[in-house]
């Protein structure tokens, strides 16, 4: 990928961190991959990221830092996710924004770099369309398409299934 990304360092236990630098200062951002053990037959991980709050020792994905580098942050998270999949090719990474607006930002970030993502990786989107308050058609996980609004995303590697 040709994206301009931040230098990311491992923090242990499925956590990576980097520093966002912009017009409002420097903020530590943490990326967390959490295994969902309620899916014992599949290695499903939740991808979450946000600003690290050292006082509460929590990650906050609800605040808008407005540091002017959202594209770079999204690219950094995206590359980190691809690196995670390279190391864990039998895994699935689930991503959903804390709000619909944030999910839209993820969608735009994926669309911006879709052409640069190596072919061994697959991105699916959860498409939920409604018409007159009814699901239409039934929700599906489909290959990511630019310009379509998705509820959530699933990233996985195809490398184990290539012949």
């Amino acid at each position: 990928m040709k994206a301009n990304i931040y230098a990311v360092s491992p923090h242990g236990n499925g956590c990576w961190k980097f520093v966002s630098e912009g017009r409002r200062g420097r903020f530590e951002v943490r990326i967390l991959f959490t295994r969902d053990f309620s899916e014992p037959d599949h290695k499903l991980y939740n991808l979450g990221f946000g600003v690290w709050n050292p006082l509460t020792r929590e990650i906050d994905d609800s605040i808008e830092v407005r540091n002017g580098d959202m594209d770079r942050i999204l690219a950094t998270v995206g590359v980190t996710a691809l690196n995670f999949l390279e190391l864990n090719p039998d895994s699935f990474i689930y991503a959903e924004g804390s709000t619909a607006a944030r999910t839209r930002k993820y969608q735009m970030g994926i669309a911006a770099y879709l052409a640069d993502i190596p072919d061994i990786f697959r991105i699916k989107g959860l498409l939920i369309e409604t018409k007159n308050g009814q699901l239409n058609p039934p929700p599906t996980w489909e290959p990511f398409r630019v310009g379509v609004n998705y509820r959530a995303f699933l990233l996985h590697s195809n490398v184990l299934y290539l012949k």
């Binding site: 491992p10 236990n13 959490t34 969902d36 929590e58 996980w141 996985h156």
Partner: protein, 51 residues
């Protein structure tokens, strides 16, 4: 006292809710709850999605 050098073996993924010092435990709980709620309604068809 040992003079052995501590060598990092890189990040390891551990069980949910077992982060050291319970860092980000509320964040993890929130994200996992959100994911499970969505997947309960719209499960991932793992067997067909791989291709």
């Amino acid at each position: 006292m040992s003079n052995r050098t501590q060598v990092s073996t890189g990040p390891k993924v551990v069980k949910e809710g077992k982060q050291p010092g319970k860092e980000a435990s509320l964040f993890i709980e929130k994200k996992m709850s959100q994911m499970r709620e969505t997947l309960k309604k719209y499960p991932i068809p793992f067997d067909t999605i791989k291709k």
